[in-house]
Symmetry: C2
Subunit: 206 residues, 2 copies
């Protein structure tokens, strides 16, 4: 629960090794399925060293989740443009969104994180936060489009949910659930195009 104070160690070449090994383990075996002994072994490090850097399994897990969620910020931002065609803009947004959520790491992370929400709701907030970041751009885009009179949207947040839902149901959940079929980029792009078409049919003023 606590995080207390970060133990700043002058230098610690093994720290990175631990993080990498733990990431691999957590993402492929889940939280419960990962043992600290195995992490240590995979990192070529003594178990004690693992605990010198991370006070507990929970802390290690958190550190890794946080690290991966940072990458969510790498998603390109999209500002609303008065000039460019709506469908082009929305297509770009949708593609960025789809690419981000279907990235291998994000996908695996989602599995682990989702699985652990159930038992440990303490972890939900900060993670949900990162997930919310994925929609921020979208929502403000819809707001702008609404103000600009090109979109007839009552509730931008709901609109964002709808847009995301259209994409995720096809490009995200099937892969996350079944685990097997990695949705091809062709299918993914088609899903985005369909979503844009449907969305604008409904919300665009024309």
């Amino acid at each position: 629960m606590a995080a207390a104070k970060e133990k700043k160690r002058r230098k610690s070449p093994k720290r990175q090794a631990v993080i990498e090994a733990a990431t691999e383990e957590f993402l492929s075996r889940g939280f419960a399925g990962t043992s600290m002994d195995r992490v240590a072994e995979a990192a070529n490090v003594s178990k004690r060293t693992v605990y010198d850097h991370f006070p507990s399994k929970d802390a290690l897990f958190q550190a890794i989740v946080d690290e991966i969620l940072m990458h969510v910020d790498d998603m390109p931002t999209h500002e609303y443009s008065r000039e460019q065609a709506l469908d082009e803009q929305l297509l770009a947004i949708g593609k960025s969104f789809a690419d981000t959520i279907t990235a291998k790491k994000f996908m695996k992370l989602s599995k682990v994180v989702i699985a652990n929400f159930i038992q440990s709701p303490e972890w939900a907030p900060r993670t949900m936060n990162a997930y919310a970041r994925l929609r921020r751009d979208m929502i403000s885009f819809f707001k702008s489009g609404k103000k600009d009179g090109r979109l007839q949207i009552r509730n931008p947040e709901i609109a964002a949910s709808q847009f995301c839902g259209l994409i995720k149901e096809i490009a995200f959940w099937p892969e996350l659930m079944a685990g097997q079929k990695p949705v091809t980029s062709r299918e993914r792009n088609a899903a985005v195009r369909d979503a844009v078409a449907m969305f604008l049919d409904h919300y665009a003023t024309d």
Copy 2:
């Protein structure tokens, strides 16, 4: 994995107690978080009795998952009608779908099952099967509407995904993830109405 032969016991009043207790435990604590000792205790039954009825924890879990998934079949069926308005029909379908997936038991089950997909993909198939059942009606409805010329749908399966996605993103996932806010029936119905409106805007020939 195995299921071997069902041990048919003449009468076993305690069997039901075990199932009920185990359901409660599994659905609130997850698979890993549930211990057979606690199940026995909660059922007011000796641990041995639990094992007399179910050879393993896995088997017990499976039995319970199967039992709950049976209820999916309780969802009312909707046949396409040439006469009735499309939006009315689709609204009914959407409502049934939304009600089914947001039912307390189904929701809790989904959490547990989804969490366990990750570590144990063996369990995926039969469960995915039940989930697929939820869309069957929808897909055949779209096919009928297409044949009847009232719906301009290229791919009924994708259309079903879209329709489901529109609803789930608002009425299902937020509750499943955050765990906190139980989506109100008002919000749920609104989500269905919005989905129908958007869907028909795009696919209805008019």
